[in-house]
Amino acid sequence: MIKFLVKAILRDKNRSLLPIIVISIGVFLTISLSGYLRGVMGDMIDQTARFETGHLKVMTRAYAGNKDQMPNDLALLGVNELTQSLRKEFPNYQWVERIRFGGLIDAPDAEGESKGQGPSAGLAIELFSDNSGEVERLNIPHSIVSGRIPQKAKEALIGDEFARKLKLDIGDEITYLGTTMNGSMTMESFTISGTVRFGMAAMDKGAVIIDISDARNMLDMENGAGEILGFSDEGVYFDETAKQTEQAFNAYYANSNDTFAPVMFRLREQNNMANYLDYVDSFASMFVVIFVIIMSVVLWNTGLIGGLRRYQEFGIRLALGESKGHIYRTLLTEAVLVGILGSLAGTSLGLAAVLYLQVHGIDISGMMSGTTMMMPSVLRAKFTTDLLYIGFIPGVAAMVAGNMLSGIGIYKRETATLFKELEV
């Protein structure tokens, strides 16, 4: 019987082509948009974690309350001991120290006169540490546009856009003008070892990256750091695990009234990420539900039209001794077969689109010249294994649901009425 049905599906384009096209389009859109949006959102979360929040972050309570101002006067002290303690207590995370600093970058010319100045977003990381993983974490080797990674003290990486704006080349000197942890003025010169482009407008416009030891010297932050970031060994954020770590750490300081006591935050609690993460979690399922509803309605109508066209056939089959139930079941079997064909086509096209967008992405840097959002300027899709079924199963389900609804018409009509359709 199945062979007989397949023959009809292949031969009768009205029975198969339209539903297959409808399902293919629906599945294609579901997969490509899910993959794209998941890639974009995942990238944004990942970028945010790598550059700003970590999966966990330790700050002083006072620093946490004003962290947007990079208040290094409220930074953690005694961080060597604290970091060692974190590494011992929570070995599933890699703990790294960072200092953020704001200030002015001055670019002197050959005569020592200023040829340009601009505000900087400074980031001091463990550049020279072999174990920190910071160079790889921030994808610095692949982000370097020219020059190299700093190899010794007093060398700095500078944002490529920033460098071009100040007309700076590799080997040029820049001077940082800012305030120390104690509030006094500081000036420090660095040699540009390379320029970087992270693909994030917020970083690329004024980035200055130096080693944390240079920052400590420059800002009088001996054994201090604004933040200690923790990254899970798996490289993926797991909220439940992060929450347990956070609770365990904060419980230790729960009874302290010291505003400089360290406090831990997980990614979800920073930068208003909670809603964003919830949105990401619910997005795929929301997409699938909407898809199934829309497709079911469309396929219901397609099925109704097809069913009306086939009342004559149903009458013949009843006359040949097929029961209504059997006709209904064969309709659903046909729907499964057509659904599988359409979903296979849609899934193939959708995955091809996702893989293309994963490699090439869509460059929106032109739209982000004024933005301060921590998001990539090339938006890429992301292939995940659930894309293999996220459109496929709903595609088949929608086709079956549509035919189930339209097929009810067979039961609603009297056998003799269906048979009467034969009396043309």
């Binding site: 019987m1 007989f4 023959k7 009809a8 031969r11 009768d12 029975r15 004559q312 056939e313 009458g315 013949i316 089959r317 009843l318 006359a319 040949l320 001794g321 097929e322 029961s323 209504k324 139930g325 059997h326 009297e414 056998t415 003799a416 048979f419 034969l422 009396e423 043309v424």
Partner: protein, 237 residues
């Protein structure tokens, strides 16, 4: 030829709701058909011919009375039992030959046997035999759109006969055929009636068909006006 009753219609009435009232299609009909008969229900349009055939074909049930076909009371059959009765014992031939357009001639005839879960080898043998009965074996691979009306009706007869039914119900089978084809079709059915002892029951008002019938039940306004047994004719004079 057995003389048992293959169809027993006793005091059957059929009424259909029309607006606030009812339309009586059949009114207290009692009639019997024996196995092997080549009979027809004749009468003008609206006389109740199709309604009677629908009841005999277990496509409808009587409002009153008893209709027993192949020993089964039509009123008591479930949808599934009705389908099984049609599948195993009844064959239908329609005014329009109603072949499934997506299937070939062979597959159209084969379909009834697939419903009976016959093996591929059994099906092939039976289908080719049925197509030979009606002279269509050479067109087995053709689609219905590629054959003429007369050929299509021959295929429809093969489809009805392939499962060797006890009873074939033919509703105006020659209505869309020219005289030559109509005579050929009726002659084919008459031959099958003689050779296979299949009972044929026609609904018709076509004189050409009537000329072949051994028995004519005249219906008027849902009642049996005359039950006429005619001397058997095997060929058209």
């Amino acid at each position: 030829m057995s003389h048992e009753n293959i169809i027993s219609i006793e005091h059957v009435s059929k009424r259909f709701p029309v607006g606030d009232g009812e339309f009586t299609a059949l009114s207290d009909i009692t009639i019997y058909f024996r196995r092997g008969e080549f009979a027809g229900v004749v009468g003008p349009s609206g006389s109740g011919k199709t309604t009677l055939l629908n009841i005999i074909g277990s496509l409808d049930t009587p409002t009153e009375g008893t209709a027993v076909v192949m020993g089964r009371n039509i009123s008591n059959l479930s949808h599934k039992e009705s389908a099984r009765l049609r599948n195993m014992h009844l064959g239908f031939i329609f005014q329009v030959y109603n072949l499934l357009p997506v299937y070939t001639v062979f597959e159209n005839v084969e379909f009834a046997l697939i419903l009976q879960h016959k093996s591929a080898a059994e099906r092939k043998k039976a289908v080719m035999e049925a197509l030979e009965w009606v002279g269509m074996a050479g067109m087995a691979r053709k689609k219905p759109s590629k054959i003429s009306g007369g050929e299509g009706q021959r295929v429809a007869i093969a489809r009805a006969m392939v499962k060797r039914p006890d009873l074939v119900l033919a509703d105006e089978p020659t209505a869309n055929l020219d005289a030559k084809n109509a005579h050929a079709i009726i002659q084919t059915m008459k031959n099958l009636n003689r050779e296979l002892h299949t009972t044929f029951l026609f609904s018709t008002h076509d004189e050409k068909v009537m000329s072949y019938l051994d028995r004519m039940v005249h219906l008027e306004d849902g009642k049996v006006a005359k039950d006429e047994f005619i001397k058997t004719k095997t060929t058209k004079p």
